[in-house]
């Protein structure tokens, strides 16, 4: 009985103070040098410091709200012009001027933004959905399944997207749906590759092995164990898909295979203004060109910023 603590616990008389001082030490040990942050909070903290990416995000938010409310607030119709008011320079009446058919360019710009953003977001969303399912299964199953699925991807990757787009547009006729289908038919391949790479890496980690040994269903492991940890690169890829889809729509409309005049899309507006700029009506080209470029710029810098912010290796 030289120990200072009594050995006899039979009557359950354990003094409370034993626990209090132990808990105090644990509390002190658990004091962290900095507040504990979840992955997303940490990423957000880093993204916030990237001014270029943040201004890109701010621009995108402004653009989305203008695309929603711009055409509603404007007194003009996007597709109806007054021929007598052809080629008016920017003024208090028409903020961005008017085009060859006397249509208000301010209204048409936001109408075009609707189309561009819709195509961009839809393409990204569909790419992500197919890419996650395909890449997730391929990476998780591995072996022969993976081999076959990857061969299919390799073949699709070799098909130049413009050809598919143009052929589909010829068969189905130019419309917004056709453009989105055509862009996603081969577009999801890049996303699937990224998801597969991530899944293949993560599926070998111990916590996945642990849940496998508990007998968790495969679909649940993929959904809960793997996908949340692959979200970083997926989000980056999504942000970079949007500008390329916006570019593709503008490109197709510009060469006359996408949306066609009188409907407003930035590509159509740029194409309509080709003749006009030679006679000095610069504003007909300037506004659609400016907003296509700025939108693509904003999504690109946001994507770059997210890439840096979501990469744990860069954590300071």
């Amino acid at each position: 009985m030289h120990n200072q603590y009594p050995r006899d616990f039979t009557n359950d008389q354990v003094p409370d103070e034993w626990f209090t001082w132990r808990q105090k030490i644990i509390k002190e040990q658990e004091q962290l040098a900095r507040p504990s942050l979840s992955y997303w909070k940490d990423a957000w903290r880093r993204l916030r410091k990237n001014y270029l990416a943040m201004s890109g995000m701010a621009f995108i938010i402004v653009l989305v709200s203008l695309a929603i409310f711009g055409p509603i607030l404007s007194p003009y119709e996007a597709n109806m012009g007054v021929l007598a008011e052809q080629y008016q320079p920017p003024s208090a009446k028409h903020w961005f001027g008017t085009d060859n058919a006397g249509r208000d360019i301010f209204t048409r710009t936001w109408q075009g933004a609707r189309i561009s953003l819709f195509v961009g977001f839809m393409a990204a969303l569909i790419d992500v959905t197919i890419g996650i399912i395909w890449g997730g299964i391929s990476g998780y199953k591995g072996g022969r399944t993976d081999n076959i699925m990857m061969r299919i991807i390799e073949i699709l990757y070799g098909i130049p997207y413009l050809l598919v787009v143009i052929l589909l547009l010829v068969v189905m006729g130019p419309s917004l749906t056709t453009i989105i289908i055509a862009l996603t038919v081969t577009g999801w391949v890049g996303m699937a590759r990224i998801v597969r790479g991530q899944v293949m890496q993560i599926k070998n980690y111990e916590y996945i092995l642990a849940s496998q040994s508990f007998g968790t269903k495969q679909s649940r492991i993929i959904r809960r164990g793997l996908l949340p940890n692959t979200m970083g690169p997926i989000i980056v890829q999504m942000t970079l898909t949007v500008p390329s889809a916006i570019f593709a729509e503008a490109f197709l409309s510009f060469i006359g295979l996408g949306i066609s005049s009188p409907n407003a899309s930035w590509g159509v507006m740029a194409s309509d203004s080709l003749g006009a700029i030679l006679s000095g009506n610069w504003w007909t080209l300037f506004f659609p060109a400016f907003f296509i470029s700025l939108t693509m710029f904003a999504f690109n810098v946001l994507g770059d910023g997210l890439q840096d912010a979501l990469d744990p290796k860069l954590r300071k």
Partner: protein
Amino acid sequence: MFKYILKKLLIMLFTLWIIITLTFVLMVSVPGSPFNSESSSNEIVQQNLERHYNLDQPIPIQYVLYLKSIITLEFGPSIKQPNQTVNDLLGRGFPISAELGLVTIIVALISGIAIGILAALRHNRIIDYVVMGIAVLGISIPNFILATLLIQQLAVNWDIFPVATWQGPMYMILPVLALATGPMAIIARLTRSTMLEVLTQDYIKMATAKGLAPWKIIVKHALRNALMPVITIMGTLLVGIMTGSFVIEQIFAIPGMGKYFVESINHRDFPVIMGTTVFYSSFLIIMLFLVDIAYGILDPRIKVNKKEGE
């Protein structure tokens, strides 16, 4: 190595077959015959025309004839321009498109790599920021917008360069500039980031300690490794340039392949659509294949992953 090439070759041929078949299926399912727009043709004339172009045959036979025409590289006569065969059109359009594409790639590669190295060597200084700012802008401005702006400023307002048609080096400057800016920006960014990574590695420090001339370190030791990612994306860039040349050819009125392709689609000129599609995709796929092979030869790691003792 041999196995690697063989595998890539098989995939390439299979991809080609898929494209060829896909084109055929889509063309057959297009509503509307190429002869509908001709007002002069009556029922019998139309039937005769269809017989002449084998359009009255059952679809499987049309498919076999079509495959045969591709294998023999005889794409047949154009429907809309009866005195021309598809081969004539390709023979006239392709050299011009190829010239435009080749010059663009060379310009983009040289300037992109040079700018990228410059930015990496002056990391986090003014030059770096300026170069990378320009690079992001270059990626963000669509080539057709850039082309229009270039025409407006340099050709119309200031009258420095001629535009339209294709008659010599001076006519090449603006289209190449419009087409090369995007790829150049991508190459510059990539070169910069890999260059930054490579420059911190031990063997570079070693080379510096050995007293090698700085340019020698950069060109001979750093650049060699920094260029691998650039080779990887060459395939994608090639596709982008070829695609871009479609619209650039239209804007600058260059009589290349893009012009015939877009025209043939609007006219439902099936032999020309099929011919140009198959030709264009085969060209791209073969280029992608060559890039893959080049990568396999240049990157020793791919060989290591093969069987040992090879």
